[in-house]
Amino acid sequence: MSTTNRSLVDRTWSKVTESQVWRSIFRHGYPDTPLNQSLVMMGNVFLHLHPVKVSRKAMKITYTWCLGGLSFFLFLVLTITGVFLMFYFVPDQTIAYANIQQIQSAVAFGNLVRNMHRWAAHLMVVTVTLHMIRVFYHGAYKPPREFNWVIGVALFLTTLLLSFTGYLLPWDQIGYWAITVGSNMASYAPIFGTAAHNFLTGQPVGVGQPTLIRFYTLHVIGLPLAAAILMAVHFWRIRKDGGEAGPPPPSRREIEQARARQAAEREPVASLS
């Protein structure tokens, strides 16, 4: 009985995978042979950011701590939860606060999704910062990866601005006064201070409706778009600059010692001949 079942499953499976529809989507067999493992990485648009093979050392969890990847993953989580929140949130100072209350109490899974958006945002600031620190300590910003570090600094700034613009949207006392403090800071910039403040808030004094719509627009489209473009360059450059840097190579002293040791080993052999 079980054999008949198996063969039925097998037959259906091979019918599906040999069908024209399946073969038009996947141009290769299941990735369990070196050829198919290569084809899947080169032929799949979502996977092709990765190389086909990767150095075992550079892949170690304790080397990268997955921090860059997790930052990107959190960006995706924030995009999905953010789109959900956009269905219910209107950036109007008379109803924005009430919208948040409705999301918390009346929208199915609204409270959970808002919580996830908030905590993922804070977490992303943390993972991006730690990623940057990790890259510094491994010296992975050194040639040929200098420019990718610069892109990374721009991404770090974009992440902070994304978080900062989102802070205002619930229109409660926390966000309102945090943004008031932050945008007042901009007005102390030399020469273009007033211009910077007015650009941020959209009005000469304080924070109001023009500020809300500016922060909202930057938060949901302007900055995510900038982040997406910068990320595309960042990921592309990892590959083009020779892949993950991997753990630091031996120091100058260690290289010297290894050379001395080799020379010492060669010495007796040379005298024999």
């Binding site: 997955c66 600031v125 010296g139 050194k142 102390y188 600059d241 100058r252």
Partner: protein, 181 residues
Amino acid sequence: MTTTEPRPATTEPRPAATQKRYRTLAVVKQEAVTRVEKQLEDSVFVWPHLLVREFLAAMLMTVVLTMVSIVIDAPLRDHSNPNLTPSPAKAPWYFLGLQEELHYFPPTVAGVLLPGFVLVALAILPYVDRNPSRAFEDRKLSIALFTIFALFFAVTVLEGSFFRGVGWQWIWPWQNIYFDL
């Protein structure tokens, strides 16, 4: 999966088919300028070795994030009121280091010049640090400087977050905490 059909023995292969034809898949540059004597790398296929790790990391993150979001609610204080300044009015946590500097330095220095200098310094770091070695032992100075810088910011952020109360006065965390996430 695909197997080559055995060719009928009777047909002669056409001359063109006996010559191998090539097409360019990719131009692979010799590796980075820093390359010295590189041994053959111990590498593995990304599918499945790296992808499985990435998948697990993403799943773990999803579980942790969902758990935290079920247990802890995002804060929402009273409706904003332009006439009621809370004391202290704190910026988001990652700017509290700067707000702490604001307590000691004029706003132009603490709020504009210092963060501007830090960002520019970070951006030009790879062009300033000319030391080609990546080994910890060879980079004592840059590592020391960066560690001091990172610790300075960590300490000021913690200070601004948990040690500052009404009127930005010093307060111990066990007395009261004025901190919103």
